[in-house]
């Protein structure tokens, strides 16, 4: 028991992960461990499998081979135990265009089993946190991409997930939006995070670990974020040689 306390199970443990899309390999030979409460930044050029990795961790994609364990759940076998414990922010905001922002969040709250009163309180505080109270009644289809992203961030943390999987969370956000978003999904939020980004300079200071993927989804390096210098980080994001 004491040993378990001293070495708690990692929030994410991956060994030999491979994911194919038909003939094409998106990820190959990936292994890493991330402790609970830690932040991992995933860097790599376009097409290096970063988003695929997030979707596998979110149990939205099955691994072709390899072992993936997230929050103690073996994927894909235990994927049902993982549902509701992850906050996933992908390229799509996962919001219905014909519903308002508030209606979308209420819908999500009901899917996650939040009571009406608790959900309304939480939705109001999240909307205030991202500066969207005044546009919350507008249909999502009439909002700008940045406003949709702010709502998507609210959706992502609405059910207070243990693990955040964030794919370019700053995309479409203005400077104010980025700062507001940091309070909900930044390192200070205290949750385990996996952050896919091209903006290594902004992401690395708040990260504990960094994973660099190369073309074809091959891991190039994995280790403490501090050991990845700014030059290597920039090169990793673009796929250029360091």
């Amino acid at each position: 028991m004491d040993e378990q306390r001293a070495n708690p199970a990692p929030a994410i443990a991956i060994a030999g992960l491979r994911r194919d899309y038909g003939e094409r390999t998106a990820l190959e030979g990936l292994g890493l461990e991330l402790a609970a409460g830690e932040s991992l930044v995933v860097l790599g050029p376009n097409g290096s499998g970063k988003s695929t990795l997030l979707r596998v961790l979110a149990s939205l994609l099955r691994p072709t081979s390899g072992a993936v364990r997230v929050l103690g759940c073996q994927l894909p076998a235990d994927a049902w135990r993982l549902r509701g414990r992850i906050g996933y922010l992908g390229h799509d905001p996962l919001l219905y265009r014909d519903l308002s922002g508030r209606e979308n969040l209420r819908f999500q709250a009901r899917l996650h089993g939040l009571g009406a009163t608790e959900a309304d309180q939480r939705i109001s505080s999240l909307l205030a946190a991202v500066g969207m109270e005044r546009r919350a009644a507008d249909r999502v289809g009439s909002l700008s991409a940045g406003m949709c992203q702010r709502l998507a961030i609210c959706r992502c943390v609405l059910h207070e997930p243990e693990l955040l999987l964030l794919d370019e969370p700053d995309s479409n956000l203005d400077l104010e939006g980025r700062e507001l978003a940091r309070t909900l999904i930044g390192p200070a939020a205290g949750r385990t995070r996996v952050l896919v980004t091209h903006d290594a300079e902004r992401a690395l200071p708040g990260a504990d670990r960094a994973l660099v993927l190369g073309h074809g989804g091959h891991p190039l390096s994995e280790g403490p974020a501090g050991e990845l210098g700014p030059e290597r980080a920039r090169a990793a994001s673009t796929g250029a040689p360091a």
Binding site: A58, S59, L60, L61, R62, R83, G84, R85, I86, Y88, G90, D92, P93, L94, L95, Y96, R97, D98, L99, E103, F107, Q108, R110, L111, H112, G113, R155
Partner: protein
Amino acid sequence: MTRSRDAFAAILAKDLRTELRTLRSLSAMALFAITTFVIFRFSLDRTSLSGSLAAGVLWATLLFAAILGVNRLFVAERDEGGFDAIRLAPIDRTVLLAAKAVALGVYLLVLEAIAVPVFALFFLGSAAALPPLLLVLVLADLGLALTGALISSMAVNSRARDLLVPLVLLPLVVPLMIAATGASEPVLEAGGPAFDRFGTWLAVLGLYDLVFGLIGYAVFDFLLED
């Protein structure tokens, strides 16, 4: 169980609210049905229909109008990420199928509330056939909604969705249409509703509903996997 019921209610309410705001499916379905009745009226050059011809005209029109709704049933889930949001939520995925089938069933009932009176006005001498016809409509709608929701969820990710839905759905609903027209035929007889083998055809409709309900429950979870 409570969570599944809440999720079912949430998905159904979301779909109905969206449809009420946009009328994307219902307006197309109703317009198609009414236009088709007008075409039948003039192409058959008959002011009244009865028996098997009346049943055929009614059910062929309702079926093809229903396909318009089936085609669009899961479009929002695909285009706006609803599939992912539901797959990430701690709910039984079959809830999505149930909510979609009920939503489609509601669309069909609304369609029939508009189309059947128009059909009666164009082709029937009296409204005496309508009460027993209602029972046939409800049972056939249930089967069509279950099969339609299942096929729609399979076809929605295909670029050839508009082609795929009728190609897959129509053969599957042949037994349903045989039973629905079989039950409607005596009800729509010229001399007033008769009930020859009416109960037998209703039982066939009920059996179809049960079989496709069970098939949907058994396979839907796998359909949502990547």
